[in-house]
Symmetry: C2
Subunit: 234 residues, 2 copies
């Protein structure tokens, strides 16, 4: 079982390091990190990762993993990333988008008519790519796994491993990574966080949301198959 994880500049690193820890622990799984060049890739908060493959050298994969983050907003408008994502996904058995990684899957024309999730703040934007946004933290539609924001990738990776290797393997990995979470506060979604916290986050993320919305609309025009009805109507 070969896994390719996309590494684009400005990704949110926990989107992929969480699932990676789980997937790499599954027996028989090998993992490559694919970037545009062999140079280290900088995540949104600064930590740099060394890729193992480039767009040109990456082997086909059984499972394609697409993280999100601010860098998604550029990747969805980058013909190289969009074409690579589409080509790899069409050849893979499974596709796994975390956080706003699902926007790149959408820009590659892979979510038309499919239910999909994303970071809660960006979820509605999936409609521009013809997807059916869902509020679920974990969404499975056919061979496409999409998770909500950042940490939801850990939950989903365990679900992916359970699907591919059986529940027992996933449960063993869960025990190994001591995943019996105890968040110090209730919250973590707009439904469970305190209203004042949600209001603050909405305000501080508004500029990013507007920038992202504009780029998503633009990416939707270029998406294989053309813009979705939502965009044509807009």
């Amino acid at each position: 079982m070969h896994v390719n994880i996309l590494l684009f500049e400005g990704l949110t690193q926990l989107d992929m390091t969480g699932p990676y820890e789980v997937l790499a622990a599954a027996p028989g799984f090998s993992v490559d990190f694919v970037a545009k060049s062999p140079d280290p890739v900088r995540s949104d908060r600064g930590l740099c990762f060394v890729p193992t493959q480039t767009l040109a050298s990456a082997p086909p994969c059984d499972l394609l993993v697409v993280p999100g983050g601010p860098g998604t907003d550029d990747a969805i408008l980058d013909p190289d990333w969009v074409a690579f994502t589409r080509r790899q996904a069409l050849g893979a058995r499974y596709v796994f988008g975390i956080c706003t990684g699902s926007l790149l899957l959408g820009a590659a024309g892979l979510l038309r008519g499919k239910r999909a999730s994303s970071h809660w703040r960006a979820r509605e934007l999936l409609a521009h790519f013809g997807a059916v946004p869902t509020d679920a933290r974990l969404c499975v539609d056919g061979n496409v796994f999409t998770a909500g924001g950042v940490t939801s990738g850990i939950d989903m990776a365990l679900k992916v491993v359970a699907t591919l290797c059986g529940d027992e393997v996933a449960k063993l990995i869960q025990l190994q990574i001591e995943y019996d979470p105890e968040p110090p506060f209730p919250g973590g979604t707009p439904r469970t966080s305190e209203p004042d916290i949600v209001r603050q986050y909405l305000a501080q993320s508004q500029a990013r949301f507007e920038l992202r919305s504009a780029k998503v609309r633009q990416a939707a025009l270029n998406a294989p198959g053309g813009p979705a009805a939502a965009d044509s109507a807009a």
Copy 2:
């Protein structure tokens, strides 16, 4: 608030990438990744990280973060890592060990008489360093935060941020990383996982446990202040 995160060969990357995502999101926090040399550091499953400082160049820090993983077993016997950890920790306002990272804190003589946690499979070994092992996922004793295995670092990082910046900042970050976990199975600790899963994990981790035990005993002999009573008696 400056944070130094230790990067030694063979670390379990999610031990530090989880907390890093949380800490780096806190206002006014800067983060360095400290390795023995400027070369990329390989984590236990292969992903390589680019350090930003070396043992020689690292600035003092307010918060020292020590991840765990198989590489801990070598780090606790490495005089450079032990001395660096001790020196940095003694100059820091807070110390944060994740998973078996607490063994390195122990080897540096920083846990004598203190309650501390670690990965559940290694917790008892803390006694060799004069610590009082606790089964808690999150343990705070004075200025020393220690978390259980791997993913518990995310919970603890939110607690650290709440302590240093107030609850509101931690709650905002929790919403940003959409941390309202939904593990697909109950489990994740020896108390909550199914007995057969626990038995399997104990069996498959036995060799590592024995190797680690031997190295911990050896490291305890070298620890500043000499071996703890538990070792003298053994």
